[in-house]
Symmetry: C2
Subunit: 323 residues, 2 copies
């Protein structure tokens, strides 16, 4: 029986709530329970199980690797928040802020080990492929985070470099989630690669949409303060596109706008320049382009795969205009 | 063909030197190369390969898991040094000091993923047992480090609590190294557990010897400043034993000695009190007791295992008096 994304998300939440995280010492396990109970979209495990079911596997054969990838994802957030000195995530204090950096480092490390231990609960005959994919992905996510930090002090960042960074930092884990689901369903290598590539496209579009929403979304809808990327001079797709599209005078105006001290004025001024330069449409065009490429995945599913609607719906939701 | 420990160590160094660590971005991979090239005893991979060969496996079937465990061990050092704010290790700057905490966190995370990727190169039919053992061990090492940090602010620490901490922080990884070698050689479960328990005994004795040498070794021989544990009021076996053996007056003297501000005077005074209390002999007795238990391992090897000399020699070296 195939499940809806909502049913899958409920199962994921229930399974996470039942994880044996009551261990000693408390300062190691409390932060793990805290980090895992903050909710979020549970996107990666949902994609993994949707892919597994689409290709004919049972959800129960996919649940542990799915939870493993979610634990891994949350581990990266715990460590990223130390490095980025982010005090708030999902509306509550981050682990390093609530406890200490040392606690966040070590709880994170434990979550990484725990992720592997959940992953190897899989009884898949393709377990070596699954583990190798996961290792490569984990390394790539670290590379992406390092590139992201490098960009902060890097004078010039090209759009190509930026796309490479978000591919590593964001897209590969979505792609690996989908491919792991496919491997659990024991699909052919070619099909596993196809869903991986689909995941990369969707992941890139998802990150660009995230960049766009930070500037243009309705605050209430998006759930965090709009304009944070502008306030912190973050080199997002919109920032880089703006400088790419600007002439000499506009470049100067952008530089001036980005050195405004008042946050509200800064966001208003930068947004006006983005509008003048057509940055919003340029970003939407790129999202649309990636989305169109990704659609070919559904057009070429192997014979016998009919129930792809649920996966289609969830991935569409990631790249849709929400404003 | 069986190899000597020296031959194995040379192979390990050569293999580490050839690891593909030239990746991008440089700020992620330079620190990994740096951390892996600082030498050290390469104890864990040496034990793994010695155990594998003793039980009849080929060294080449054990080399990658061995390197994986060494990479894991070095990852824990990179992260521990951030948490403990240790500026120097093996005579050179630690990763977080040479670069930044963020670089050390992320390079460490990458080393953890790399350790897994080396581990799964093993073609052993017992790979699931090997991975499960590794996951459990990694989690336990984190628990041990958290306990160690907890002890800093904990008024009272019992010797039992201390032994539990060093079991987790130090002994389980030595034990897991030996057991992984045994699993690669496909030994029976009972024998794999026997060498694990042997590793725990040796690991505990090794850590107690480390505590002892910090107070009593010839500085040149031991290679780091003697008395560092005393200067930093670290709750080692000797510290806890001293308070256990002291009467009310001596407890006061110890407390006074540990609040001395001059490091040289502090070490001299504390050492004199340790001598008065017989702490040195009490520690040596405990090491001797653990060593004797561990010896029974060699007395009960399965029929057909003859060449255990090299493993015996290496483990003896860990618990011998070096002063």
């Amino acid at each position: 029986m195939k499940h809806t994304a909502d049913q899958i998300r409920r199962t994921i939440e229930e399974t996470i709530a039942r994880l044996p995280l009551e261990g000693e010492p408390p300062l190691l396990y409390q932060p793990i329970r805290y980090a895992m109970s903050q909710g979020g979209k549970r996107l990666r495990p949902t994609l993994l199980i949707l892919a597994a079911e689409m290709y004919g596997a049972e959800a129960q054969d996919a649940i542990w690797p799915a939870i493993g990838l979610e634990v891994f994802h949350n581990f990266t957030l715990v460590h990223d928040d130390i490095m980025d000195q982010s005090p708030i995530r999902r509306g509550v204090e981050t682990v390093y802020k609530k406890w200490t950096s040392s606690v966040a480092i070590l709880s994170g490390d434990t979550m990484f080990a725990l992720a592997y231990d959940l992953l190897i609960r899989s009884e898949s005959s393709r377990i070596r492929e699954i583990l190798h994919l996961f290792n490569r992905t984990a390394i790539e996510v670290c590379e992406g985070q390092q590139l992201d930090m490098d960009f902060e002090s890097q004078e010039v960042v090209s759009i190509d470099e930026y796309m490479r960074m978000i591919r590593l930092k964001t897209a590969v884990l979505l792609a690996a989630s989908l491919k792991t689901g496919a491997l659990i369903a024991d699909v052919e290598r070619n099909e596993a690669d196809r869903i991986y590539d689909f995941g990369i496209c969707i992941g890139l579009a998802f990150q660009l949409m995230d960049d766009l929403l930070d500037v243009y979304s309705d605050e209430a809808l998006f759930g965090k303060k709009t304009g944070n990327d502008i306030v912190t001079n973050k080199k997002t797709f919109l920032y880089l596109k703006a400088f790419e599209l600007a002439n000499a005078r506009q470049k100067q105006e952008l530089e001036q706008a980005f050195s405004t001290s008042s946050p509200v004025e800064k966001v208003t001024t930068v947004r006006a320049l983005y509008d003048e330069l057509g940055v919003r449409d340029a970003t939407l065009n790129e999202i649309q382009r990636l989305h169109q490429i990704s659609e070919s995945f559904f057009d070429n599913l192997p014979a016998g795969i009919s129930q792809s609607d649920e996966l289609h719906k969830v991935t569409l939701g990631l790249v849709e205009r929400k404003f």
